[in-house]
Subunit: 327 residues, 2 copies
């Protein structure tokens, strides 16, 4: 048991949701001088818990990652990796974890100055890869996942002390309303919703298929959605980038479209927020789900020592206004 | 075994999809003189296999049906009916079948001149209720259903001879992209996709929860979606009406929104298309899934003998253009 756990969860007794006691943007008021995100974008992230940037990767870069995935699906040594999750009873890849150790292309992306610049603005420090993967949600049968906060899991099961961590999702296919895009509850990152009930040992073997432990109650979700103005599901072309805060509630539906939905997903954690022992008391999850040993900063220079990367290209336009359903 | 079954399906041997040998609109070229649907709407239904009409029921009428549903959920005698399907291990209603026998409000709706006029235009004859129900897809946990043609099931399991049958779905909640709205593949009604494999006895006890028998293969769905221009999911306010042809492929996703999705669903079959013995060779399904004994025409007069019901009110405006995803 940790002393003064600011985010108690997975307890037997019920704890009411509470306002998060820590900042959202750690880079400070003048962070917009230090990287590619504008003051408006930083304010929007602070307020809503996410940012959507269209046209982040070029068509050619996207095709490169799709070639990689195609290659993995024919490579027995990749299919047999513990880090590769396939659909039940098939060799159809669902996720390949820890691709930063597998793909030179991804390793380069992880050092992309635009990405690191944004992470440093948001985290106020250097960052390392907490988790990375390439996901495939196959046409017609790709399954979604229930509402949850990543930080709730990473805190309890991985020992991540604070929500000083951001997730990046890069679409490798157009996001449409039909292929199970990521849905978010705006502003939900400002509230921590403790889960009532202890964490089963090796919970991750179940939760990667279908999460139940950590999922907020329907009434809690409804209240947060009503406060936040509903649900949003950013749509955009392949190559678009969604950045979301580690505590933002998100979910996704099944893919019932005739096309796959593939994306790159990686999590950058502050080097000042490295993992400690899991707060739930269980043994740590595997390294490929939560980097512990190899928490190496992606950039050796601190933001103040670097040439600031300024706005360039269309990926820096303001995100579209949140879509609020008429309910 | 029937002689000359024009829609062979559920056989052990594979049969390729084929173009439907029967008409879509049976009312003939001058049907637009005989009812509320315009020539343009009839042509659109013929071409796409569905029509979407916003503002069909008033807010007040919708509230009435929601009151009924609310009442059912507190009425032990309704909950205990065989025709009432609840979520597993709960009393939360998923569907109440055969509501035309239960609800005076629905019984009146089933005699609505606008509805009957449209049915008669499309079917070219009087119609009776083949199936009716009120559906509830609860917030956060309502489940969807896989792609299928209703006619494929009704033909094989209920003995419906031809696709001369239309379904009406009236939204009791706004349809949004988040609450699992009905999705359709435009133009798919023109092709019949035989299913390979025999029908298990009492298949309906499984298929009402999750349909697998009768579901086209992924490659077939993809080809039909590409031919038809993608997938559409008509959106509209509560009270909107979706009419779709019995062979139009449709599906729906889970409801991951904080709000329920409730609707009225009923099927009007031509009196010249009454059920015979099930083509799959099994025993008939229960009467509440497929009217057999009580196939009473909803209107005693044939269209030619009636006062034509002409366009009135905003529900007759042209449906929005099909939404084609950018894939």
């Amino acid at each position: 048991m940790h002393i003064k756990d600011r985010y108690p969860t997975r307890m037997r007794q019920h704890i009411e949701p509470f306002v998060r006691p820590d900042p959202v943007v750690y880079g400070g008021a003048d962070a917009s001088n230090a990287g590619p995100l504008t003051a408006g974008q930083l304010a929007s992230f602070e307020e809503n818990g996410f940012l959507f940037l269209d046209n982040f990767l070029s068509e050619r870069e996207v095709d490169g990652f799709l070639d990689d995935l195609e290659g993995y699906s024919r490579d027995r040594s990749v299919l047999d990796r513990e880090e590769t999750v396939t659909e039940q009873h098939t060799d159809v890849i669902k996720s390949v974890f820890a691709i930063h150790n597998l793909s030179p292309r991804f390793e380069r992306l992880g050092r992309d100055e635009r990405l690191l610049g944004m992470a440093q603005q948001l985290l106020g420090s250097d960052a390392y890869i907490h988790q990375s993967r390439i996901n495939n949600k196959p046409a017609f049968r790709g399954t979604g996942f229930n509402w949850h906060s990543d930080f709730e899991t990473w805190h309890s099961e991985d020992g991540m002390p604070y929500p000083r961590c951001v997730s990046f999702s890069i679409a490798l296919d157009d996001n449409t309303e039909f292929n199970g895009p990521l849905m978010l509850i705006p502003k939900s990152h400002k509230v921590f919703v403790p889960y009532t009930g202890e964490t089963p040992p090796q919970n991750w073997t179940q939760s990667l298929k279908s999460q139940t432990v950590g999922v907020p109650r329907a009434g809690q979700l409804k209240e947060l959605a009503q406060r936040g103005g509903g649900i949003v599901a950013p749509k955009g072309r392949r190559g678009s980038l969604l950045i979301f805060e580690s505590n933002t509630l998100h979910a996704s539906s099944n893919n019932l479209s005739p096309f796959p939905r593939r994306n790159l997903f990686f999590v950058l954690n502050s080097v000042e927020n490295k993992l400690v022992a899991p707060y739930c008391g269980n043994r740590p999850r595997p390294e490929y789900l939560a980097t512990r040993r190899d928490a190496v900063p992606l950039h050796s220079g601190m933001p103040s020592e670097r040439q600031p990367v300024r706005a360039q290209g269309s990926f820096l336009k303001e995100p579209a206004a949140a879509q609020v359903p008429r309910q």
